[in-house]
Structure formats: C-alpha cells, structure tokens
Symmetry: C2
Subunit: 212 residues, 2 copies
C-alpha cells in the first residue's frame, strides 16, 4: 500500500488514484525518464533526467556541476514519471482527456556518499535503461565517478494516477452526432542504429536486441 | 532568437543549447503534454498537464480546485516539454545518454480573466491536441467555463536543448570490442478506438484520421 499524506491524496478525481504499490513500481519501471522538480532561489525548476529503482529507493544522477543539484547534501524534490497512452476524444471540449499512468514522488533526496551505494545506484540507472549494459560496457573510472553526483530518494511518499477507457461524457451529450473515442499513443523501439565509428564486425548484442 | 538569462544559459553542455526560437516552437508544438512545476508551501510539485500555444504565449488549464493552481492570480512556474527520441548506448557507462529535444519555460503565469482570451486559450489547448476538435465538439458551457482556470505564460524566458546522433565516447574507448549506437524511440498513433457508447453509424471524422 502507498502511504497517504496531504500531498499524495488526490483532491479531485479520487477514482483515478491507485494506492497499490505494485502500480507505483509498474509506472516507474516502465518509464525511461522522469521530470525532476526542485526549488532554486525560490523558483520552480523542472528538468528531464534518467533514474533507476532498487526496492523502495529511486536513484538519480547528475553532473556535480549541474544547477539542479548544485548544493550537494539534501534536496527537496518532486519526481514525476508520466506515460501518455492515448488521447481521449469526448463529445464536448470539456471532457477531453488523456489516458495516462503517472507517478509523483515527493521527498528529500540525499546525495549518496558511500562508494558502494553510489555504484549500486549508477548500476540501477544503467540497467533501468538497458538491462545488461552495466556488465557489457566499460565501468565508470575514478575520474568519471568524481564528476557524478548520485542522489537517493525514498518512495515513502508517492502517488499514482491512472486513466483508461473511453471518454466520460455528460449524459445529454451522448445523443450528439459527434464521434468519440480514444486515439492510442504507442511508443516502440526502432531498429538499432550502429555508431558509424564502430569497429568492423561487432554485432548488436543479444541484450540490446531483447530490449526491443 | 531566445533571450539569455542566468536560468536559460546552460552551465554545462553548451553545444546542446539552441537559441533559435523556431526550435522552441517546434519542441512545444510537437509535444502532447508538459510537466508543470510550481512551488507549494515551499516544496516543488511537478504535474503532467496539457497546453497550447498562441504566438509567444503558452496556455495551460486546470480545475479551479486543483492544488497546483489553487490560489488564483499569478503563479511562478516552470513548464518543461520533453521528447525522448532514442537511447544512446555508448562504450562506457558514463557516456550513455538520450537523444532528446526539450524546452524549459520559466515565468509567472497569470490567471486569464478576460472571457475572450479564456476561450482563445482553451481553443489553443484543444486544437493543440487534435486540430479540428474545437469546431467539431460541443463548446464549453457557462458552468464548465466557471470550473476551469486558464493560465497564460509568456515564452520570454525559455531554453531549448537538443541531442542527436551517435554516442560521444572517450578516445581510448573506441578500440573496445563493444557495440555502440542508438536505439531509437518511436511514438506513433494507433488505430482510433470508437467509444462503445457511440450512436450507430458515426464514422471517425477526417480531422481525427488526419491527426495520425
């Protein structure tokens, strides 16, 4: 079960909330990027970034010089992952919507300092994107690690919102001579594009083919 | 040209910045949803939401009861639109990346009170999602309009970041026996799914077929 706090309790459209932790994992694990929100000098800032998950901890990374993580230490953040699954075309402008799955995680992200946890976090980030890459590619050097900030965020305070199915129109609008339905949005992997600088003869590895 | 302010000037990876206003329009117009960042009670909050554009103004909307817009009036916001075009699989963990196009808009969003501009904003939002729907479906009623907050945000302070092409590996890593390249991510429209409650005989309209 997901915890309920004032921030994670939906004020509106309560029927779209899920309190099932499995749904949270699902939305997070099937996403590619998140949108990381921070407050800098009192202003909101939202940047797209990669992430990975180990149990109930989300890992993020960034350059140690990046604005959004500049101060080091702890950061109050909001991490949002959204899948847009379809455009819901209703009979009225007002009832147009999206079919979507979204997760919002609130909390204080801590800068990870333990070297083992830093590596585990980076591994989770890499494996989230392409399972198998951590063991297949060159691991981070000491210098690269020094340039990388790793942040950990607990999934203690999170909410999940889902919408599926056809439009919900007003009773009287169902008689209108207007088509209504869903235009699905499908995200797929294309054919791997080999780096032109690749040494001759190296094939696309099985774990990358499997990613598709 | 896009303005340069401390917030819109990239601290890192300057070569990925675009200062071309046409690129900004491109990223915004080809997106479906944005991630809206606000500060509530000192905490960052990031929610996915729809948007539309008229010239150099972005329009957002929400329920007048929504938390992110609750206070009415003016709101300091950050609006981010991201397209993920591919997974960049490098020879080293460190150089993994995404091919992407993203726009970040900073500013103070004003609650639109002029009824004509409110309608124009809602029209832009609707037409952004599915051109032709505004004239095809039932327009908002007085009651629906009263329940809808419309926000306007100037595109005066915005940045665009783009990455395309194969991985950028370290010189010495090109000799590694590791496949490298890009796994493209392709987003497409599926076949329209007609609402089971639809009156018999109404066909998918041409403007929706054209959306695909």
């Amino acid at each position: 079960m997901l915890s309920t706090t004032p921030r994670t309790t939906l004020g509106r459209e309560k029927h779209r909330a899920s309190t099932d932790r499995a749904d949270l994992y699902d939305v997070l694990d099937s996403g590619l990027i998140c949108h990381l929100g921070v407050v800098t000098d009192g202003h909101p800032m939202v940047v797209p970034t990669a992430y990975g998950r180990i149990g109930d901890t989300l890992y993020l990374h960034g350059s140690t010089g990046a604005r959004s993580l500049r101060a080091g230490g702890e950061h109050e953040v909001c991490v949002t992952v959204t899948h847009v699954d379809g455009l819901v075309l209703a009979r009225s402008v007002f009832n147009h919507s999206f079919n979507y799955r979204s997760a919002i995680v609130y909390g204080t992200a801590r800068t990870v300092t333990d070297e083992d946890e830093r590596l585990e976090g980076l591994r989770a980030l890499t494996e989230h994107l392409a399972p198998g890459q951590w063991d297949y590619t060159r691991r981070p050097s000491r210098k690269e690690l020094a340039a990388t900030a790793v942040l950990a965020l607990s999934l203690a305070e999170a909410s999940v919102k889902l919408r599926t199915g056809p439009p919900n129109d007003e009773e009287e609008d169902y008689a209108l001579p207007v088509w209504a339905g869903v235009l699905p949005i499908v995200t797929t992997w294309g054919e791997p594009e080999t780096d032109p600088a690749l040494q001759n003869g190296i094939e696309v590895p099985v774990h990358i083919r499997a990613r598709r």
